[in-house]
């Protein structure tokens, strides 16, 4: 469904035919005024074509020359850009391999560290102290018992018959 503006424009440009033309002309409230406006539009078109149609264009050859130079520059830049893109694309696999190698190295180190730091079933530090400090000469009847709750990660050391503790023991 054409709007009035569309029909009017088509009518001015003689693009309406047959029933469409008849219907449109019949719908015009003032046919004479419409015809006058159509003549005006034709005159306007003639004026525009006459005054704007032939615009002189000086230095035509220079225009082409300048354009050729610009295109040559653009082509050179594009080629340079494509070269840059290619080198960028070549580095992507390198980046992937570097990333994978770094990740593998990190995993190995992490596993090693975690193994080292995994809580042992018995506190090695305390065991050492006990081994070193429970001297049979000083405390011949001393007995040491170790109880460990793995879930709570608690170790209880039960000592009996201990005569004395070394003065520097508490500080440790």
């Amino acid at each position: 469904m054409k709007t009035f503006e569309e029909k009017w424009t088509a009518w001015l440009d003689d693009q309406l035919t047959g029933k469409e033309l008849a219907d449109f002309e019949a719908s015009l409230p003032d046919k004479e005024a419409a015809e006058a406006e159509k003549r005006d539009a034709t005159k306007l078109g003639t004026l525009l074509k006459q005054e704007l149609g032939a615009q002189p264009f000086s230095n035509e050859e220079f225009f082409n020359h300048q354009l050729r130079e610009r295109i040559a520059r653009e082509n050179a830049q594009d080629q340079h850009g494509r070269g840059g893109e290619r080198s960028t694309w070549w580095t992507v696999p390198r980046l992937v391999w570097t990333g994978a190698a770094s990740l593998a190295l990190f995993m190995i180190c992490a596993v090693a560290v975690m193994r080292e730091k995994a809580p042992s079933e018995r506190s090695e530090y305390l065991t050492q102290i006990l081994n070193m400090r429970v001297d049979p000469v000083v405390s011949p009847n001393a007995t040491v018992s170790v109880f460990e709750t793995k879930g709570d990660r608690v170790t209880v050391i039960w000592t009996e018959g201990l005569q004395s503790l070394p003065s520097d023991y508490a500080a440790k």
Binding site: K2, T3, E5, E6, W8, T9, A10, L12, D13, Q15, E37, D40, A41, K43, L44, G45, T46, L47, L48, K49, E51, L52, G53, A54, Q55, P56, F57, S58, N59, E60, F63, N64, Q66, L67, R68, R70, I71, A72, E74
Partner: protein, 203 residues
């Protein structure tokens, strides 16, 4: 019949040029530029009313056309295709510049036209001074009226009246519907008729 043959040959030749451009031949593009530069320059000039700006915009349009010519599939004529680029470039530029008045730009356009020594369309005899002045005034009135239209309305009226393009060609060049073209033509004509009635009545 002869005209049809000539047109067909021209079309084939143009398609051939386009194909050569798509293969990267700048000489073929140079030939296409030579064919259309005057019409495209005139079209842009009539929209922006400044020779230097029209020159630059025509250059930009052709550079864009060269860059995207590989995407031209031949569904429309090369002329309609390049017009679409020209219109995009020019309308974008006008929007950015937000040209509303015509003062200085206008006078500049007149001066440039007055001192154009390289015109190939020189009349057989120089017009009399008063005739020249009258023509200059008429042109100034037209330019002034056109600057009061939006970029889209300018494009439509100029393509229709000075280029004689069909609605569907204008629609393709502007990337809009035929209905929009007709509607824009309606309002552009109304406005120009109001502004230029005394000019075309006296010619």
């Amino acid at each position: 019949m002869q005209t049809e043959t000539t047109l067909a040959q021209a079309d084939v030749s143009e398609l051939d040029l386009v194909k050569r451009c798509q293969a990267g031949e700048t000489e073929a593009f140079d030939e296409l530029v030579t064919r259309y530069r005057t019409r495209i320059f005139a079209m842009i000039y009539n929209m922006v009313h400044n020779e230097q700006d029209a020159w630059d915009l025509a250059q930009d349009s052709f550079v864009k056309a060269w860059k995207s010519i590989k995407r031209f599939r031949g569904r429309s004529s090369f002329y309609t295709w390049i017009y679409r680029i020209v219109m995009n470039v020019t309308i974008d530029w006008l929007r950015k510049k937000q040209v509303k008045g015509a003062g200085v730009e206008f006078d500049d356009a007149i001066q440039l036209r007055e001192v154009n020594p390289a015109s190939k369309t020189l009349p057989k005899a120089d017009p009399l001074p008063y005739e020249r002045m009258e023509r200059t005034e008429v042109r100034a009135r037209i330019d002034n009226a056109i600057t009061q239209l939006s970029p889209e309305h300018r494009a439509v009226i100029l393509m229709k009246e000075t280029e004689g393009m069909q609605y569907h060609e204008i629609a393709e060049a502007l990337g809009c519907s035929i209905g929009t073209v007709m509607s824009r033509l309606f309002y552009a004509r109304k406005k120009l008729q109001n502004l230029l009635k005394d000019v075309y009545e006296n010619i």
